[in-house]
């Protein structure tokens, strides 16, 4: 509809390297294919059999499993780009997507980085610098300091002024690290010391600032899109309050509490934030919303996000196509007035985790995969039957999205699809979503960032086994028709290399921290 095909062919890239793995690499490869662009994949030792390698046009090995030696390694990634003559690099999310030095290294190497400039990233990467710039741009943000706390005395003064409870946060931080909630003045000094040392340990920067703590906020973020000619639009908000330990698990668009007027106000402010940062390409402005629906700038994510599909479904736009076209120099093919929001979309992040064992990562071989499809169902997946989920990376397997004409229909379709979804051989968090989607508060749109941790504290409802007799009959039939050879004898379905597993204990946590993937 908006595609001027001839012009696109003249300016478009011929070859793009995807500096990522898993479901997002598959997503970007698909966009390349749809645009007639040759895709180049990279893979580490443990990803040779990964789905993204099979779907790409070219693929190159870049090193051992450890991200620092492969997916985070500038020299290796740029080396492959040069060798394959890739003209541009799409960084996906996590890994190098918000690494200003890498964005600059691409510029220096004459390769187009599909995303914002290094300068925009740097401005938004430091939370205190972001706040300072937002102050200048007249953007509402949570009262507090825009600079790091200089002394416990100054901290006390600020806390008195904004009022308790206050949140201490690491300027260079993310993912919930270096954060401390302080309710009483007596606790401030020790909380400050421990936040500063955790910030130093996790991010190499002890700078901590103070914000008024909004009690039970909702996390609502606004998708923006800007071309390299100064045009910036907002594409609607996403409600991301359903989080477990600060990691998003369910996202939806539009938010159940945002009406068109609030959307317009938040959207215009998000555009102002992006413009103040000189932003180009896709980005997301995060807000905290209090129970009175006042919203405050929290931070900006200078990349495409995991949950982008819900925005794509309600706007009818392909964000990855647009990212590529923007990077190729095209102007946005629409104005703010052209953007329409239609229907409702809800996404579940399917992780290889055991909900009955505190969400312990569950690597291993997927022995059986029955994946849902049908009306209003979108599935962005990096897994397949027979694949062994590696230990070394964040265990996001797939995103399941339900779309409908309204929220109720989206919920019904998603529930139906979750009932069709079966992943055998490893544990997944699918049962968690069945539980959330049945919850009356979720149906009512009544939740905030403390919702899921609260829900999980209530005992898991017993799933009644009414079909023991059916199972008994099935067991006999399987024995007759499909006898198990060597099943459960300790050798069948061996879950990968034992030696590699020795590192497993630290692998997941390390990798997730380094990638800062979630959220």
């Amino acid at each position: 509809m908006f595609l001027d095909f001839a012009l696109v062919l003249l300016r478009m890239f011929k070859k793009i390297l995807i500096a990522n793995r898993g479901e997002i690499a598959v997503r970007v490869i698909r966009a390349c294919r749809e645009l007639g662009i040759t895709s180049v994949a990279v893979f580490s030792d443990v990803d040779r059999s990964a789905l993204h390698v099979r779907k790409a046009d070219e693929a190159y090995h870049i090193g051992p499993a450890a991200a620092a030696e492969s997916y985070l390694n500038f020299d290796k990634i740029l080396g492959v780009a040069k060798h394959s003559a890739a003209e541009a690099i799409h960084p996906g999310y996590g890994f190098l997507s918000e690494n200003a030095r890498f964005a600059q290294a691409c510029v220096n190497a004459g390769i187009k980085f599909i995303g914002p400039t290094a300068q925009s990233m740097e401005m938004m990467g430091s939370k205190t610098r972001a706040r300072q710039n937002m102050e200048k741009a007249g953007v509402p943000f949570v009262p507090g300091t825009s600079r790091g706390v200089e002394s416990p005395e100054q901290a006390e003064q600020v806390a008195e002024k904004v009022g308790y409870p206050v949140m201490l946060k690491a300027a260079a931080g993310g993912g919930g690290k270096g954060m401390r909630l302080v309710h009483k003045p007596e606790d401030l000094k020790s909380a400050l010391e421990s936040a500063q040392s955790e910030a130093l340990r996790s991010f190499g920067d002890s700078e901590v600032y103070i914000e008024k703590a909004i009690v039970n906020p909702r996390h609502i973020e606004m998708q923006i899109l800007a071309d390299e000619h100064g045009n910036t639009v907002y594409l609607g908000e996403r409600e991301c309050s359903i989080q477990r330990r600060h990691q998003k698990v369910v996202e939806e668009s539009p938010s159940p509490i945002v009406d068109p007027e609030m959307r317009r106000r938040m959207g215009e402010i998000a555009v102002r934030v992006a413009q103040a940062a000189g932003y180009a390409n896709a980005g997301t402005v995060e807000f905290l919303v209090d129970p009175q629906k006042n919203f405050y700038f929290l931070e900006m994510n200078t990349r495409l996000q995991v949950e982008h599909p819900v925005t794509e479904l309600i706007t009818g736009l392909d964000l990855v196509h647009l990212q590529i076209r923007i990077a190729a120099g095209e102007k946005l093919p629409f104005t703010q007035d052209d953007i329409r929001i239609r229907g409702h979309a809800i996404e579940c992040r399917i992780y290889a985790e055991d909900p009955d064992n505190n969400y312990f990562p569950s690597p291993g071989k997927i022995t059986l995969l029955l994946a849902p499809s049908g009306p209003g169902i979108r599935r962005d997946s990096g897994m397949y039957e027979g694949w062994t989920v590696p230990i070394e990376y964040d265990p996001l397997l797939a995103k399941l999205i339900g779309y409908g004409t309204d929220r109720d229909q989206a919920i019904a379709r998603l529930q139906r699809a979750l009932n069709e979804y079966f992943v055998g051989g490893i544990k997944t968090n699918i049962s968690l979503f069945r539980r959330i989607l049945k919850d009356p508060d979720f149906h009512a749109g009544k939740f905030d960032t403390s919702y899921l941790d609260r829900l999980l504290k209530t005992p898991t409802p017993e799933v009644k086994g009414e079909h023991a007799e059916v199972a008994a009959i099935a067991a006999g039939i399987f024995a007759m028709l499909d006898p198990v050879s060597g099943a459960g004898n300790g050798r069948a379905g061996t879950n990968g290399n034992s030696a590699a597993k020795k590192e497993a204990g630290n692998g997941w946590k390390q990798a997730a921290r380094v990638e800062a993937l979630r959220g």
Binding site: A468, V470, I473, G488, S498
Partner: protein, 165 residues
């Protein structure tokens, strides 16, 4: 064929016969009108008196389960005629079962001793990994034939931890 099937510890007696494409099924003394088709390895379509069920069989290195809808059942199938005289090597359904480490970690506690009688689902030992403790349970009712590891031992997936006879 006659089978003794234990579902989550409860025993059922099953008689199954198929001639041409017609099934005959008798469960715990009751005739059941049933039809079944294996749609692909590990996935069964069963029709019981008109109700349709999709049954998934899930095999991991450690155990075997059947899923009816979202509910998982553990099952042991015994062909009673061949039970006698069987030594049971490896993990034959009626023979000794090896308890396998499902994850890398360290054995922090033994919960039972050799020669002790245990129930299906009873905790045998505790493995710790990533600061979390995981109780490894017995897959069957029986006797602890051998505990292979000691407290403090490091284990990897597919390592044998114990044998329940």
């Amino acid at each position: 064929m006659i089978y003794d099937v234990a579902i989550d510890g409860t025993n059922h007696r099953l008689e199954l016969e198929r001639s041409e494409k017609i099934w005959r099924c008798r469960l715990n003394g009751r005739d059941v009108q049933m039809d079944a088709v294996l749609t692909r390895p590990d996935v069964l379509s069963i029709l019981i008196e008109g109700r349709a069920y999709e049954i998934k069989r899930e095999r991991t290195a450690v155990d075997l389960h059947y899923w009816v809808g979202p509910v998982r059942y553990s099952a042991e199938v015994r062909d009673p005629r061949s039970l006698r005289g069987r030594k049971g090597t490896g993990n034959d359904d009626a023979g000794p079962k090896k308890l396998i480490a499902p994850m890398p970690g360290k054995v922090v506690r033994l919960l039972v001793a050799e020669k002790e009688e245990v129930e299906a689902g009873q905790g045998i030992l505790v493995v710790e990994a990533m600061k979390m403790q995981n109780e490894i349970k017995s897959p069957k009712k029986g006797t602890v034939q051998k505990i292979v590891v000691m407290e403090g031992a490091s284990v990897n997936p597919t390592d044998v931890l114990a044998i329940i006879a």
